[in-house]
């Protein structure tokens, strides 16, 4: 069964550094998403992306965040200057038109 794959599985970064989280969505999917889960909290929506542009973003997704689909297969989340509170599990998801979202196994981001 096709899967959403995310790399790396764990990223450790110094505060203030830039980090890029990578995702390969399911190949025929058109909608792409990033969510995050801070330890002990809910899974929270960050951003959705369709037709090469952001469809919707949450209040969390401020100017420090950006997303890109640099080629036909990858979908990336960049955090320009990381903060301690960015430490979380980041989940990528994708979906077909009108279909449920399928999630990757996440990247654990640890900011030191």
């Amino acid at each position: 069964e096709p899967e959403v794959t995310q790399t790396p599985s764990h990223q450790v970064t110094q505060m203030g550094q830039e980090v890029i989280l990578r995702c390969v969505p399911i190949s025929n999917h058109l909608y792409f998403y990033w969510y995050r889960q801070i330890l002990g909290q809910k899974v929270e929506f960050l951003v959705s992306f369709y037709n090469n542009e952001i469809s919707e973003k949450s209040e969390i997704f401020d100017d420090q965040f950006s997303v890109e689909r640099p080629d036909g297969s990858n979908f990336t989340l960049k955090i320009r200057s990381t903060k301690l509170e960015d430490s979380a599990m980041y989940f990528c998801a994708s979906s077909g038109d009108g279909q449920p979202q399928h999630f990757g196994d996440g990247t654990r981001l640890s900011i030191l």
Partner: protein, 115 residues
């Protein structure tokens, strides 16, 4: 922001019995609801969904019931198996975008199925 609530943080059930997981929501604009299962160190896995035009959807051992007037949905697992032990998340979305709109998640219920 508690738009989707799962009031039971954990549930323990004997193998072979029914597991009932509950979810409440407050936003009347939600029109599509999903259940996801999550094992440790993995991402959420889609289980089953229901549109607001229905009150029941069944897929094998899993059935989701929707009570719109009560803003309540439940997931029934019959019979429960030890492999069902995981965290179960209820999620909701709305604005008639179907499943492609952002998902609002509950806090999850940890289900333990005892052999």
């Amino acid at each position: 922001d508690q738009q989707v609530k799962q009031n039971s943080p954990s549930l323990s059930v004997q193998e072979g019995r029914i597991s009932i997981l509950n979810c409440d929501y407050t936003n009347s604009m939600f029109d599509y609801f999903l259940w996801y299962k999550k094992y440790p160190a993995e991402g959420p896995t889609f289980l089953i969904s229901i549109s607001s035009i229905k009150d029941k959807n069944e897929d094998g051992r899993f059935t989701v019931f929707l009570n719109k007037s009560a803003k309540h949905l439940s997931l029934h697992i019959v019979p429960s198996q030890p492999g069902d032990s995981a965290v179960y998340f209820c999620a909701a979305t709305g604005n008639y975008g179907g499943a492609t709109n952002k998902l609002i998640f509950g806090t999850g219920t940890l289900l333990a199925v005892q052999p």
